[in-house]
Amino acid sequence: MFNLAEIKDTIKIEPSGFRKPKAQAITDEINRKYANKVLQDIGLCIAMHDILYASEGFIHHGDGCSYVTVVFRLVIFRPFVGEVLTGKIRSCNQEGVRVTLGFFDDILIPHGYLQENSEFNADEQVWVWMYDENEMFMDLDEDIRFRVESEQFFDTSPSVRPKKEGVDTPDLSANSAKQAPYSLTCSINGDGLGLLSWWGA
């Protein structure tokens, strides 16, 4: 579920950071820049793991900052396709079940990927697995085990966002695409998958 990515970047250290030891200043800058951000086709960055190489600091004309070329490794959250994870149910709707890991929320189990014979209970707003004669409710906040089926990256940087046609309303929030930069599509249609309580855990 976690892996390491090796990245080379030029890190800017402001003069206020000069009082720190160099390694500390670089670490702080890298974490400020990358922690909790999604990199396209890489995954969600958690924190810096280690520094492999750092050049000397360069100071450019007209600016007091020190620029250092750094090769470092980041801890990335990116489960591989087919991996089994556990999380908690965040919400249910007609579309399917949304799951959260606490630090990552964009996980959807579409209704087609639920256990066979699952039905949406409109009164309680939860999905129910009809297993033989039993109704197995998928209540919110229950622990759930699921398998990653596919991953989607969506570039949310402003320059390349396609303008949607005919939605030019004054309401700015309606214009902005609310798509997550990195999301997972998962399934629970198999033995051992689904709520942990179903399998006697």
């Binding site: 390491l4 990515a5 080379k8 793991h49 490794r73 198999g190 051992g192 998958l193």
Partner: protein, 143 residues
Amino acid sequence: MEILKANAAMLSNFEVLTLLKDQKALRQANEVAGAREVAENLRTVEFEVQKYLNDTPCSSQTSEQILSLKRALSKYELMKVELLQILNLRPKSAVELLLVVEEFEERLSLEDCDEIVRIISETLPREDDDVEMEENGDVEGDE
């Protein structure tokens, strides 16, 4: 920014949790020497990941336990990713184990499965298992 290797290595949950704890300890040690501000985004993700990982089996693991598990399971020729998931999920029953093993029908017999589950619960002991064990009547003395 240049990506040199998108996937240089895989980390187990245990390694990530250890890293986050170490980083925090290091930072707190430095804070005494001179106050250092922590970036908001780092604090958020650190807190949430630790909260998640503390609820998973990796919270009670040690590197010795992981080594002995690896040694005990070496004869089953499990793939690296399978071993990694066994470590992260710590299957307690055969049905949980078979989820993470590909084409298990050809590779493992039913006895193998039971044996692996037994090895896992022995090499990676957890306090919350004791309740079930006592019910079964086989309480292990030490560890």
